[in-house]
């Protein structure tokens, strides 16, 4: 686990992102997170068999390359001295030049059945027995630093794992104080979760940690439904050929993402945009301040995707559909409300 395996090792062929039919909100929310990891991830809610997992896994091909410290188990960013792990920081302080490498951002999966020690990392038994040294064996949170952390069926995750996840997500640091180990390492990840609400709700605290939230429903248009099945069959028959068929489309998307990423730091938001953000969160009744910030970042990212250097109040309204549904104070008996377009318009 000390060295994250490169992307190419994924055994099963991935369904191309560009070949996904419909589910535009979900796709948009994922793309927004690729363009701007600071949006804070996305929670995809929906019934079984609505391509939730497929979409998240397919995201891998759209993820950009990032510079990393070549031999760091946490894939530290050599250009960001402020966010280095303790070891890299020490090496840098000792005058060493950190070896650089480029690696594509990965989708790291947290299986629902994972144990706490696998998630947080644990005592390296081998080195304890052979050398009598208490050393740290990094876990999934270490592998997820600067990557996308994907939790399928996130609502079924054991409570103590959720707690650990929340802790790390809150600070971007995994503090391990257990089993003779005492250490912290950076763990900044884009949290992507999928869940089927019928199997139980997510704890509010965890819900709030997801930047965006979208609901996917089965397609209702018979023509689209047919198209889904046809593509799926075609993919299963010959994945490589299928991938080639959508390669051009995928590349277009990848290019748009690269463009937006470049533009993003230059996108500005004027006072009218901030005003709209605050008006919406107050008007809709949103808990806390995290929603405000996510809404603003999402609006800015939307502007970047649209090739504009200036975010507008309209961007905010569009962003609200993704950034606010899971943050609304729910009325008694009410389901999570995704159809808030009307309410937004009235504010």
């Amino acid at each position: 686990m000390t060295k994250p395996e490169p992307q190419a090792n994924n055994a099963a062929p991935l369904y191309p992102f560009a070949a996904l039919v419909g589910q535009d909100q979900m796709k948009l929310s994922l793309i927004i997170n690729v363009v701007n990891p600071r949006v804070g991830g996305v929670l995809v809610r929906g019934e079984k068999g609505t391509a939730k997992s497929t979409a998240v896994r397919a995201l891998a091909e759209l993820l950009p390359e990032q510079p990393v410290v070549a031999d760091c188990p946490y894939a530290c960013d050599p250009d960001d001295a402020g966010a280095l792990c303790a070891e890299c920081a020490e090496r840098l302080a000792a005058g060493e030049t950190l070896p650089r490498d480029k690696r594509r951002v990965r989708v790291v999966e947290l299986p629902v059945g994972a144990t706490e020690d696998r998630l947080l990392g644990t005592l390296d038994l081998e080195s304890a027995l052979s050398q009598g040294k208490a050393r740290f064996l990094p876990g999934i949170l270490a592998a997820a630093n600067r990557q996308v952390l994907y939790v399928d069926e996130v609502n079924l995750l054991d409570d103590h794992l959720v707690d650990a996840l929340l802790d790390a997500a809150a600070m971007g640091v995994n503090s391990v104080e257990r089993e003779s180990i005492s250490l912290s390492h950076p763990a900044r990840f884009t949290l992507v979760g999928t869940m089927n609400p019928e199997e139980g709700e997510l704890r509010p605290q965890l819900t709030d940690r997801f930047g965006l939230c979208v609901q996917v429903v089965g397609l209702s248009d018979p023509a689209l439904r047919q198209e889904v099945i046809l593509r799926r069959l075609e993919f299963e028959r010959d994945p490589a050929r299928f991938a080639r068929k959508f390669a051009a489309e995928g590349q277009r998307l990848a290019k748009a993402i690269v463009r937006a990423r470049k533009l993003l730091p230059r996108v500005t938001a004027g006072p009218e945009v901030l005003e709209r953000v605050v008006k919406l969160v107050l008007g809709l009744g949103v808990d806390g301040h995290r929603g405000d910030l996510t809404l603003l970042k999402t609006a800015i990212t939307l502007a970047a995707l649209d090739g504009r250097k200036q975010a507008t109040p309209a961007d905010v309204d569009a962003a609200a559909l993704l950034a606010l549904p899971h943050r609304l104070r729910r009325r008694p008996l009410a389901e999570m409300e995704f159809d808030i377009a009307e309410r937004i318009k009235r504010i």
């Binding site: 303790a86 208490a134 650990a164 503090s175 808990d287 301040h289």
Partner: protein, 677 residues
């Protein structure tokens, strides 16, 4: 420890917009760490963590014994090692430590444990200091304290109160100073914190999001600027940060000299009495906070005004037993009398040992009386917000349930045990147990560590298998429907408040009119329950079968999520069903149910039978899962000779049937206590 570079990325304390009481409470704690900790309660995303982390940066650098792992104060209390060293002790300066207690922490890292490497390589039995040692003279921060196992919270609070950490384990027997300012945060939505734990926090702040649009925009603007360029942002606030830090350092020095007037003292006691605080912690915290506030403002005397100012911080969380809504309490505290008609102020000192003593003063005949007043505030009256309960009935140490030990591999690893019960092996503890014996065991060329059978330690896990209670309430338009709903609601809120162990969840399903609905999906949160049960519709017919069907679905859903649950379902009804499923559900869903074979709760119900038969058939199905247990409460107030279905329903459910003619929340609670295991 997080790399030092993380510190440069902290949002400056002084740049926080609004949140005045949050900032005040933390500053007071910074001035007087002996306050006993600050608890930050509030919804998510309200700068709780940011403020706590920011506080440490405001605290002055401190001088420590240079190579002491415990960070001893050269001019203060020394650990045994430092005490034994020749003088003068070498010293160095360090910033005030800020230590995070992560939720996944184990006991050995919290209080410290045997140093494995020293034991193996040198055969020495040495303490490897834990987080409590590292937090000595600094800030210990516990995020989401309500999610931390109660057992660890107790350890933290014990150390916070005594200033000492005692390590008695693995052949170690040692004490060392552990004096720290405790800051904890929690989101009440995730379940409450027990009253015993609550009471031990000196101050408590209710943190809410900023309601003012202009300020809210300012929050956004600053946050955005900070994220864009943390260094520049911090630089812009450096001057204010620096003056605040200096003022805080000055206040710390002035603290000892601040005097407390008897009027202030009496006022604190009276306010605590008003708020129905139990014990004396309330007024003590109140006075200490007022003293710190005086020091902050450069005043030499604690004026009653200051006491009144800090009273909400010190008393809100101790008020009565049920958390009173904050605004109401604030009013209660404000309404209270005019202090200035009291006797002329006599200087009284609040000593550091948390005891109150009246400064010796000639001719002060009322002195003794005043002390007495503090120690036994006559005004303390328990508030009657608690629901009636039998003395001692399942109330004793409800928090204990949190640490129910589990024998499988689920749950959080708490600590290790030498008892062999076939649990998973705690490698860390096993190795520590083996380490001291390596001198005799090691073979040349062999492994560094030889582990033998007696060394083996097993993991004790805190299994948070919560309990689940579902009320299924008849909301039909019978005579006592409204009372039934009202008392059930009171019982739900009572259970959630009392059984504050967060994994216990309560849900409500009601049936009335033509259909059933889940009024409250199972929740552990009093807040959620209160919110969702504001509206309790009653009236119409009695679709009992629809209610049972919904119970079945809820059970199936919950058991799928946690197969270890043993839910209890309490059914309150008149036992006069008169709406068949065909009507409750409509034809289409019935067809779907009928066509649905194999294991579902609803299958086989397309024949449109009569309501009674449906009810009993559903009951038989519900009883099919041995994990679920039922209680039927017959609330029929009608004529005795008329047959109602409660008894047969109970028989089919293999459940007790209890008749309650006038139903009260107390009776419902008692029933639940008797049957909820």
């Amino acid at each position: 420890m997080p790399p030092a570079s993380h510190n440069n990325r902290l949002y400056p304390f002084v740049a926080l917009v609004g949140q005045e009481s949050l900032k005040r409470a933390l500053l007071l704690l910074g001035i007087d760490p002996g306050l006993g900790g600050v608890l930050l309660r509030g919804e998510k995303g309200t700068a709780k963590s940011t403020a706590a982390r920011g506080l440490a940066k405001l605290l002055p650098p401190q001088s420590v014994v240079a190579d002491c792992p415990l960070g001893c104060d050269p001019s203060g209390w020394l650990c045994p090692d430092c005490a034994a060293r020749p003088r003068p002790l070498p010293t160095r300066q360090r910033p005030t430590p800020f230590v995070d207690l992560p939720l996944g922490a184990t006991e050995d890292r919290l209080i410290g444990s045997l140093d494995l490497e020293a034991a193996v390589s040198r055969g020495q039995v040495r303490l490897r200091p834990g987080l409590l040692a590292r937090a000595h003279r600094g800030v210990l921060y516990v995020d989401e304290v309500n999610l931390l196992p109660a057992h660890l919270v107790h350890l933290v609070l014990d150390a916070a109160a005594s200033g000492v950490n005692r390590v008695e384990r693995e052949g170690l027997s040692q004490s060392h100073p552990a004096q720290f300012a405790l800051v904890a945060s929690m989101n009440p939505e995730e379940g409450p914190l027990g009253p015993q734990l609550l009471d031990r926090f000196g101050l408590c702040v209710e943190v809410t999001a900023e309601p003012d649009p202009a300020r809210r925009m300012e929050v956004l603007r600053r946050r955005l600027a900070f994220e864009a360029d943390p260094q520049a942002f911090c630089a812009a606030w450096a001057t204010l940060q620096e003056t605040t830090a200096q003022r805080l350092a000055a206040a710390r020095l002035a603290l000892e000299r601040v005097q407390v007037t008897p009027t202030a003292l009496a006022l604190a006691a009276e306010l605590a009495g008003r708020a129905a605080c139990q014990g004396q912690r309330g007024e003590l915290a109140c006075l200490r906070a007022a003293r710190a506030l005086a020091a902050w403002r450069g005043l030499g005397v604690v004026e009653p005004e200051l006491v009144r100012e800090v009273a909400p911080l010190a008393l809100v969380h101790r008020a009565g037993s049920a958390p009173a809504p904050a605004p109401e309490l604030h009013n209660r505290l404000k309404v209270f009398s005019d202090p200035d008609q009291e006797a002329p102020p006599e200087p009284v000192r609040v000593a550091d040992g948390q005891a109150l003593e009246v400064a010796p003063s000639a001719g002060d005949q009322a002195g003794g009386e005043r002390t007495l007043y503090i120690l036994s505030p006559g005004a303390v009256k328990p508030v009657a917000t608690r629901l009636p309960a039998k003395e001692g009935a399942s109330r004793k140490q409800p928090g204990r349930r949190a640490a129910r030990e589990s024998h499988d591999s689920r749950g959080r690893y708490l600590r290790a045990s030498a008892q062999r019960l076939g649990r998973s092996i705690a490698f860390d503890a096993t190795l520590r147990a083996a380490a001291p014996h390596q001198g005799q065991r090691r073979q040349p060329g062999g492994p560094a560590l030889v582990v033998l059978r007696p060394d083996i330690r097993e993991k004790v896990r805190a299994a948070k298998h919560g309990r689940l209670l579902i009320f299924c309430v008849d909301a039909s338009g019978s005579m006592n429907a409204a009372a039934r709903m009202r008392e059930t609601k009171a019982a739900v809120l009572g259970l959630l408040t009392e059984a504050y162990q967060k994994r216990d969840r309560v849900g409500v399903i009601s049936f009335g009119g033509l259909a059933a609905r889940e009024l409250l999906p199972p929740t552990a949160s009093v807040e959620v329950a209160r919110r969702m049960l504001t509206d309790l519709p009653t009236g119409g017919k009695t679709p009992l079968s629809a209610g049972l069907l919904l119970v079945g679905r809820a059970l199936m859903r919950e058991l799928a999520q946690d197969p270890k649950l043993t839910p209890l379902v309490v059914i309150l009804t008149d036992g006069r069903p008169n709406v068949p499923l065909r009507v409750s559900l409509g034809e289409s869903e019935m067809t779907e149910l009928a066509g649905h074979k194999g294991g579902g709760w609803g299958d086989g119900w397309g024949d449109g039978g009569y309501a009674d038969r449906e009810v009993l058939n559903l009951a038989r199905r519900l009883a099919g899962d041995p994990r679920a247990r039922f209680v039927v409460v017959d609330t029929d107030v009608g004529h005795h000779h008329e047959i109602n279905l409660c008894r047969p329903l109970a028989d089919y459910l293999r459940a007790p049937c209890v008749a309650l003619r006038t139903i009260t929340a107390g009776q419902v609670l008692d029933l639940v206590r008797q049957n909820w295991h």
